[in-house]
């Protein structure tokens, strides 16, 4: 905070969001897409904490704690689904489960 403008934090957060988006768009592996989602969640959470600091109350920090909790739940369920897909199709390509359509 000591003289660091808010733009720096928001810029880092925007870059993090950009890299997460690139990860999701560029890959076909489901685990990679999970990594990208985690990057984007971190970017959002960083924004919340930044606004909490520069806005002068703690609501943003509490929201970012909830984001962390929900990310844990999301990672657990998503990995269970990924493991099931791997057991059935023997790979984790996002395109493979489209076999479910006939």
């Amino acid at each position: 905070m000591d003289g660091i403008p808010i733009h720096f934090y928001l810029g880092v957060s925007a870059l993090l969001f950009f890299l997460g988006l690139v990860t999701i768009l560029a890959r076909r592996n489901l685990v990679y897409i999970l990594l990208g989602v985690e990057l984007i969640l971190n970017a959002a959470s960083l924004n919340f904490v930044t606004f909490s600091r520069y806005g002068g109350n703690l609501d943003g920090q509490i929201v970012s704690i909830f984001v962390i909790i929900l990310a844990a739940a999301e990672a657990a369920v998503a990995l269970a689904i990924v493991l099931n897909i791997y057991n059935v199709f023997k790979n984790v390509d996002v395109d493979t489960p489209s076999e479910l359509k006939n």
């Binding site: 808010i6 985690e38 920090q61």
Partner: protein, 166 residues
């Protein structure tokens, strides 16, 4: 150039560089370890923002929990060929760059109503009070604990080994 500036620059550099490794590396194990350092970098940024409790939660839950889960995911789903296709990566970079330019445009042109604060002090007391006060965050706090329980039971049920019936 104060200590705060140097700390911010170091943590921001760690975060962005390792996030770039996540996005661009050929090997998924390297990408997962890049994400590990990204989480640490973001935790450091929380520290420079004076959010000590969120930093601790970030390290405990992200680095200690989610990262281990993701590494299990990486190890349990070995794939023979690399997922990295340069042409697709360039396309994704282009699309992402459009979004990034939009974000930076907003960042530059918006008027951010910030206020100067006193130097940060420990937030743990106040966060605990707000989480357990009925008028504030008690209800979401309880709901999220039930949600977490349900999600973990569901995950354990889904991931258990069973015969595939065909």
């Amino acid at each position: 150039m104060t200590a705060a500036h140097i700390a911010f620059a170091a943590f921001a550099l760690i975060t962005v560089v390792s996030a770039f490794v996540v996005a661009s590396h050929r090997s998924i194990v390297h990408s997962a370890f890049g994400l590990f350092f990204t989480f640490f970098g973001v935790a450091g940024l929380y520290l420079t923002l004076g959010a000590d409790f969120v930093m601790a939660a970030q390290i405990l839950i992200y680095v200690g929990g989610i990262m281990v889960l993701l590494l299990f995911g990486v190890m349990l789903t070995p794939s023979r060929r690399s997922d990295f296709v340069p042409a697709r990566f360039l396309r994704a970079l282009t699309l992402g760059a459009i979004v990034l330019v939009g974000l930076l445009w907003v960042l530059k042109n918006a008027h951010w109503a910030t206020q100067e604060l006193a130097s940060p002090e420990s937030t743990i007391d106040e966060i605990g009070r707000q989480l357990l006060t009925r008028e504030q965050y008690l209800l979401p706090f309880e709901v999220v604990s039930v949600l977490l329980l349900a999600a973990l039971i569901g995950a354990a049920y889904l991931a258990r080994r069973r015969k595939i019936v065909d």
